[in-house]
């Protein structure tokens, strides 16, 4: 069996989710199932651009710590976690999480958990541009509810 791999990246420029997922899949032929989540900047709704700000000394270490928690909690063959920072246009990929596992349930739960915690705990500050004006986005209650699901 191939060694379990964890690949965590903070991308400051664009990345290609199809290419990343293809490479991840090719690296895990022993996994029966691969669950992925791709978050992208929503087109429509009047948002012209999105900016995610990170703080280097905290953001990447926290992503790596989250990945380690996911690896401990579920039996995975591989885990991929890529998050953008910087200014993005509508349709641009923001985040890609992929979990490869022997069992489907593990892959779904791991990807779901990783997303819930990435969204609410990670050190990203977000602002949106609409009508030519930038506006900072405040925390949402939904994130705290998502987290509470995991006990």
């Amino acid at each position: 069996m191939a060694e379990a791999t964890t690949d965590v990246r903070l991308a400051t420029g664009p990345f290609d989710p199809a290419h990343e997922l293809e490479a991840f899949t090719a690296a895990h032929p022993e996994a029966g199932g691969i669950v992925s989540f791709l978050g992208q900047v929503r087109a429509g709704g009047g948002v012209e651009a999105l900016e995610l700000q990170h703080y280097e000394p905290l953001t990447l270490p926290a992503m790596k710590a989250l990945a380690a928690r996911v690896r401990e909690r579920w039996e995975l063959d591989g885990l991929l976690l890529i998050h953008r920072s910087g200014v993005m246009e509508p349709g641009a990929p923001i985040v890609l999480v992929a979990a490869a596992a022997r069992h489907r349930r593990d892959a779904f739960a791991a990807a779901d958990f990783a997303m819930d915690h990435l969204k609410s705990e990670s050190w990203f500050w977000k602002r949106e541009k609409a009508g030519g004006e930038w506006r900072w986005i405040e925390p949402r209650d939904q994130d705290f509810e998502d987290i509470a699901r995991w006990g």
Binding site: G39, L58, F124, W125
Partner: protein, 95 residues
């Protein structure tokens, strides 16, 4: 760290600078993402030396602090040194 210890006290004082980093909406209030300021003996003293409106925002309970990438706990009161970086972290944005 500690390389200034061989200098006379007056030179240490004049050379002592720290960097403040303002994340999220704090960047707009501060008029920039970071600022170099003269070191003071404590974080409280550093904040006191800033514009009152910015100082108030930095003291909001939901704003967390990190010194050189280490998050402070509630009662931490670190002694500041030349070259330290203090980051002010408002609540992160929801998804």
């Amino acid at each position: 760290m500690g390389t200034g210890m061989d200098l006379p006290s007056s030179e240490r004082e004049s050379a002592s600078r720290i960097t403040l980093v303002f994340l999220g909406r704090l960047e707009d209030l501060a008029g920039g993402g970071s600022r170099a300021v003269a070191a003071a003996s404590s974080i409280d003293a550093v904040i006191d030396a800033l514009e009152p409106q910015l100082a108030r925002a930095l003291r909001e309970p939901r704003v967390k602090l990190a010194v050189n990438g280490i998050l402070l706990q509630d009662n931490d009161a670190p002694v500041l040194r030349h070259g330290d970086e203090i980051a002010f972290l408002p609540p992160v944005s929801g998804g």
